[in-house]
Amino acid sequence: MDLQPGTFAFEAWTARYALWRGLWATITTSSFSIVFATLAGLIFGVALTYGWWPLRLLVRLYVDFMRGMPVLVLILFTYYGLALFQVNVAPYWAGVFALAGFATAHVAENLRGAVQSVPAGQMEAAKAIGLSFPKRLWYVIVPQAIRRMLPPWVNTCLEIVKGTTLLSVIGVVELLLATQQVIARNYMVIDFYLLACGIYLVVNFCIAQIGAALERRFSYIRY
């Protein structure tokens, strides 16, 4: 192969570590955000559905606030805004918290919708055999709600991956910023943006495939 400086292959090979580190930052910030958002979202979702009303109101305010706020504003706030209050968070973690906080609202709202769409008779049947409230939730409602939550949850995951590009604004060298830094050295604008596009597509395609596999896994839950 003709590996001359100035060819795409040469420049890509030269930049491989920089790009890999960027991709790795994208993958890890996404993963942390997805895990935090899913765990917190499940708890918030239960609070939103079954909570004592003051708690429900509080979570409702949180969800509506987060859903109404541009993610970029949240990211800037967690990074620069918190610094004003002498809370210094590394850009990486500021970004993860902002994305997770945002996606938590979506997961919580999805869970509420999913739980409320489980037929009322399921809860009654679970009561009738004497299951306590946490067990009714865990063994009867949640497995059925998860099945309904999967498609929107996969969407949320994809949004998070795409949202990590915004972390470049606060200096997290994720895939987009890494690509821009590479372009700044070799000026191959179209080539490397196309490469970044391709990588994002592959990552999100993988997530969508995992989602589809999970949906098949739970497809026996029918009425």
Binding site: P119, G121, Q122, E124, A125, A126, K127, A128, I129, G130, L131, S132, F133, K135, Y139, V140, P143, Q144, R147, F218, Y220, I221, R222, Y223
Partner: protein
């Protein structure tokens, strides 16, 4: 009829908003008896049944199971709701079968029966599986133990639902119009299972529109009208000698469907 009273209801009242659905129901179910509630829709049959299992909360009067008040205790003349844990424990002593089956769709026939055995009664998985197998056999579905509800017909689902309720060894079984959602040709298999249960001495309180079945299987029939007990007694007496015009006209409509009942 010397058996002790298992379920005793006294002056049970229940309102939904301004509508008083139960206007003071008195009812006794003795150990081993089958008692059927009949009446027009809106007469309060199902609401009463749901109050017994605390799926609805009665606003007045009391319901006693084995002498224990269900759902509430009296404290200094005031009704206090029991803790959620106590309510769950009381529900575990009363089985219920629903019109819409309400099997858990994410569990197999066997899994549906095992859930309460393992998570409420604390039995081990192996023992629970044995019990589930035993009851599935009793309802004629031994070979369907690994099937999910959507793979079963309505009648089969309802038989699994009955097995799920009986396997908990409840003191009392409630049946809420359990054949109303079934295709006509599937009704008989479910009624057959219920008849066998009745013969085995299970105490049952049922709401049903299957008048011939009610006549044949019940020890007592209770006719509810407008949230009150209008007539109660052995089936022969209620069907053969209806005291009120309302009961006569109700039975008249039923004759049209089932032929001569009495």
């Amino acid at each position: 009829m010397g058996e002790e009273v298992l379920l005793r209801a006294r002056g049970v009242r229940k309102s939904f908003g301004n509508v008083e659905v139960l206007k003071g129901i008195d009812l006794d179910v003795r150990q081993g008896q089958v008692v059927s509630l009949i009446g027009a829709s809106g007469s309060g049959k199902t609401t009463f049944l749901r109050c017994v299992n605390l799926l609805e909360e009665h606003d007045g009067g009391e319901i006693l199971l084995d002498g224990d008040p269900i759902g509430y205790r009296m404290e200094g003349g005031k009704r206090r709701r029991l803790s959620e844990a106590k309510v769950s424990a009381q529900r575990a002593r009363i089985g219920m079968v629903f019109q819409q089956f309400n099997l858990f769709p994410h569990l197999t026939a066997e899994g549906n029966i095992m859930l309460g055995l393992t998570k409420v009664l604390g039995k081990g998985a192996a023992e629970a599986r044995d019990i589930a197998g035993h009851w599935l056999e009793r309802v004629g579905l031994a070979e369907r133990r690994g099937y999910y509800p959507y793979q079963l017909s309505g009648g089969q689902q309802q038989r699994v639902a009955i097995a799920r309720a009986v396997a908990m060894q409840p003191r009392l079984l409630l049946f809420d119009e359990v054949t109303s959602a079934l295709d006509p040709e599937l009704v008989a298999e479910v009624l057959g299972v219920m008849q066998k249960l009745a013969e085995s001495g299970m105490t049952m309180l049922l709401v049903s529109h299957e008048m011939l079945f009610v006549r044949d299987v019940s020890d007592r029939v209770v006719f509810l009208d407008g949230g009150q007990v209008a007539q109660a007694g052995p089936p022969k007496e209620v069907f053969g000698n209806p005291e009120s015009e309302r009961l006569r006209s109700f039975l008249g409509r039923m004759h049209g469907i089932f032929g001569q009942i009495a």
